[in-house]
């Protein structure tokens, strides 16, 4: 049946987009031990900045990369200037990210106005491709490819590089990592910047699907939270699995149980929290 096929393909596409949002969130959560409540803001700000780059004449993909870099810079600045001062005070850090989220939301409203902005799908990807017996937008499939590429790159970085080894050490046991001479505070900057950049990139790449509007940040943040808690904090594979689980739940849940649209995403979360509090692929906190 066509409906189920469309839902299945869309689940994968949405999962890919969600991974761009959640991977950085997961790394930040895992290493710094704080839920970054401005992660949705990074996503939205990246989308808005990308729109501005487009308007200034940049192509779609250059605009996407610029948006990602701009957000990576923003993330680094916020970490160095604000979060760093509150090291060791997780509650204060969480409050700070919440406050920054509100500031970013109103800043975007002032700079870009409140009208929703449609991001045009890049030329050449506007069509549809046949998938088995249904047609599916080409662009969404491209998003999946990008997400997979980024997942592979992140995995290689974490598993095969010295930096990755240091991050893993920091996630597993930050005190021990410090003892053996890893500058964990510098890792914080790098990871926060990387996470912000990925979210910004995801925000703009998501533009042709979601469009850009005030409130996009608040729509995305809970999804990131659910995915990361479901998959396990600090676990890249967990974020990947969580993204696709949520992609499927979102699509099939809303079609099968329309009256439960609000709770459908939280039911498996509750189940996981009861049975495996550390998340599907998370490790128990040391």
């Amino acid at each position: 049946m066509n409906l189920w096929l469309i839902l299945a393909v869309n689940s994968i596409a949405l999962g890919g987009l969600l991974f761009l949002l959640a991977s950085g969130f997961s790394l930040i959560f895992g290493l710094m031990r704080i839920p970054n409540l401005m992660h949705g803001s990074f996503f939205m700000l990246g989308a808005y900045l990308g729109v501005s780059f487009l308007r200034l004449g940049a192509g779609f993909w250059p605009a996407a990369i610029l948006a990602g870099l701009a957000l990576a810079g923003t993330g680094a600045v916020i970490e160095r200037l604000l979060l760093r001062r509150l090291t060791g005070k997780p509650q204060a850090q969480v409050l700070l990210t919440l406050g920054m989220a509100l500031i970013v939301a109103d800043l975007c409203l002032m700079l870009w106005g409140g009208d929703p902005i449609e991001v045009q799908t890049p030329a050449g990807l506007t069509g549809v491709v046949p998938v088995f017996s249904v047609v599916f937008p080409t662009y969404r499939l491209v998003v999946v490819v990008i997400a997979v590429a980024i997942a592979v790159a992140l995995w290689l970085m974490l598993e095969r590089t010295r930096l990755g080894a240091m991050i893993r050490a920091g996630v597993d046991d930050p005190q021990m990592a410090r003892v053996i001479g890893i500058r964990v505070s510098r890792l914080f900057s790098i990871v926060f910047s990387l996470g912000a950049g990925l979210a910004g990139l995801g925000g703009f790449i998501g533009g042709p699907i979601l469009s850009v509007y005030p409130g996009l940040d608040q729509d995305m943040l809970p999804l990131a939270l659910i995915i990361v808690i479901l998959g396990g904090t600090g676990s890249l594979a967990g974020a990947l699995v969580g993204s696709f689980v949520i992609g499927f739940l979102y699509n099939f849940g809303q079609a099968l149980f329309p009256d439960l649209a609000y709770v459908i995403l939280f039911v498996p979360l509750l189940a996981v929290l009861v049975i495996r509090p550390q998340g599907l692929l998370g490790k128990l906190a040391p």
Binding site: L3, M110, Q254, A255, P258
Partner: protein, 422 residues
Amino acid sequence: MRITRRKALQSVVGAGIGASLGPLARPALAANKPIRIGLLTVLTGPLAEGGIQIRAGTELFLKQRNHTLAGRKVELIIQDTGGNPAGAKTKAQELVERDHVDMIFGPYAAFELLAINSYLIQHKMPTLSLAAADDLTSRTPNPYLVRASATSSQAMYPLADYAARELKVKTVDTIADDFAFGYEEVGGFQQVFDDDGGTIRKKLWSPLHTPDYTPYIAQIGAVDGVVIGLAGSNPVKFLQQYASLGMAGKHKLLGGETAADDALLKSFGDEAVGFISACPYSASYDGTQNKDFVAAYTKQTGAVPGLNAATFYLNGMVTEAALHATGGKTDDRAALVKAMRATSFKDSIRGPFHFDRFGNVVGNVFMRRIDKSGSGLVNTIIKVYPNVSQFWTFDVKKYLATPNYTRNGTPAKLAQNAAGAE
């Protein structure tokens, strides 16, 4: 944007100073103290765009009248509710108890008005709102409410009539925001569409915050039309995703007053061409007053006015006419509301209109189709239904005795008095 924000702040600060002087200064100035209008709108958060349009429409009207109505100076006190019921309650209390306003313009959203409705009644506060909750001017009326826009279902009756009789649409699926406004829009459509021989096959309800409509779009079946009861930025998202799934042209798209608002046109892409919607206001209405209004508004804001801005401009007109009738007096609140509800206009930016005994407007509803115009889009008026009341052509007594439209219920049968609009 930055300047207007500052202006809003100034007026709020100014209001604070005025209020602190209030008790001392008032007796001396009582003879000709200014009329105070409290504007409850939304300037921050996801609903801000509509709220900013509301402020622009109000300010434009007052500027054109040189801040003087019926010989009295008018002071506008702007409050930002943040678009939530708690904020609306706090700000309404400030306006009523601290600023001693004579009337309230706003609030914007239905859930805001519902949160302060009993408070406003208790304080006998004349309220000119856009919030569309049906019951407040029918089954559980607020005696101090004046609504110059429409109830949620009001524009849906002619839309259903037009769809069934002129477009010959037989079957539709509906998609609407999963809250009262959506239920009332779809219920209103169904009420008339069923009578006219049409069938709603499937009702889809999407949460207000739905990032991806694909699961809903995939459920739309082989029907003639899709009725879209979405508000805010949701119609933009929905149509973009609908088109990207290769659905463009498969159904007649029919929308309520918020789905294709003139102010949204600059956000839509070409996929919106052909979208037919019903709205109690249209920027392309060619009355003289409206042409002047659109020109002045566009000059002031750089954007085309939609229903939000237009309604608050109309609220200004209603207030002015009522003040002329009361000789500029605002002390007797009941008399002021009575005068507002008694106003009647041979022409306005939405054409002729008057109010029913519940304070809800009776006037034009425009059927519009989105067409391409140069590099942008425009709503072309394809039919005008005159004198549309919130009761359509139903028997009012019967209407008041039946329950309001709900999420899953089928509306009770209400015989229409005559075929179509009169």
